[in-house]
Homo-oligomer: 180 residues x 2
DNA sequence: CTTACCATGTAAGGCGTTACATGATTCA
DNA sequence: TGAATCATGTAACGCCTTACATGGTAAG
């Protein structure tokens, strides 16, 4: 079956906004998409080759003094495929937090160790929240420049609300563990 | 390398609380752990066999008039392994929401379609929130019965705060899309 | 009497990661 | 001149899911 949780629609979606190399795609996944998606070169390059073979993207070798570099752009068939995926209802949203697993089994570890896990989680979330808030500011200011900015901003706001919820829980969880 | 995001510690953790069959383990994963973890029989049974071979769990065939059923219990070596994993810092918390991917690339789909995705997400989160709040009530009332209940309750509260954050975002996102 | 649930397991394959391999260019 | 970044790709392997295969038991 087609494109359920795969790299291909991510690539198609990114190329729908601008032409990119495989390296560029990796960078975008690691920045704008990183808080809800991930992907490695070992997945990006083979997918790009497959998409090209299916004529969903077009490869252009960049010539001249530059090193070997290939820029990809989306084709009409690619846009059609992207839209078809966008129209289909979401199949699966997955939250998979190892932190919660360690908490769930935490009685074996005890309070101090568990609190350490929560605090490490808290530090991590706080940092990511700051990054998202910086994104939020930039995107809000540049909202008129590009109609896609609105959609990017909405996902950023998702991260902000979610992380705020996480931080609220951190406080609650720590006080629950300490008041025993 | 050992037990980074694997079924084995989940099983060890569950068996640390009570003896269970493979079928029981699946049920627990699909209920108490479902909002932050998942696993299938195709992963549970082979892992159980491997854990038994490593003497981390012990298998007891249930005899008598009952059907073929095997109950597993954790061994001392198993407890040690579980504790070792609990002590190690969390390697990876992963949030992977297809909904956000569809939102991120949403300009191609347009406002109406995007709002439909948000509303489907909203319905789903609302339902799960209700389930978690039911769990919260039960666990709060039974807090004294078992020292582990406190740890279960903390993870449930995580889900509640997170889902509340999600729902807050749903409202925000819809109004952002409508006010254009 | 049949539907739902209890119960165990295997085989094939999907999807992706990590690690490796290689080399150019830019910047301090 | 050496570190960081740009840039592409492959091979091996890990981990899990889906689908299949099988059959007992409880409840309505």
């Amino acid at each position: 079956m087609a494109t359920e949780k795969k790299m291909d629609v991510v690539i198609l979606g990114l190329l729908n906004h601008s032409d990119l190399s495989g390296y560029d795609i990796k960078k975008q996944i690691d920045s704008a998409l990183s808080f809800f998606w991930s992907g490695s070169y070992g997945s990006i390059y083979p997918t790009l080759a497959k998409l090209e073979a299916d004529k969903l993207v077009k490869k252009k070798e960049v010539k001249g003094s530059e090193r070997n570099k290939a820029m990809y752009s989306i084709t009409k068939a690619g846009k059609k495929q992207l839209l078809a995926w966008l129209e289909v209802p979401v199949i699966k949203d997955e939250l998979r937090y190892e932190t919660l697993l360690k908490l769930f089994f935490g009685s074996e570890l005890g309070e101090d160790g568990t609190i350490e896990h929560i605090e490490a989680f808290e530090r991590n979330v706080s940092e990511n929240l700051k990054l998202l808030q910086a994104y939020e500011k930039i995107l809000t200011e540049a909202l008129d420049e590009d109609p896609e900015h609105k959609y990017f901003l909405i996902t950023v706001k998702f991260g902000i609300e979610t992380y705020k919820g996480h931080l609220k829980w951190c406080k609650e969880a720590k006080s629950m563990l300490k008041n025993m």
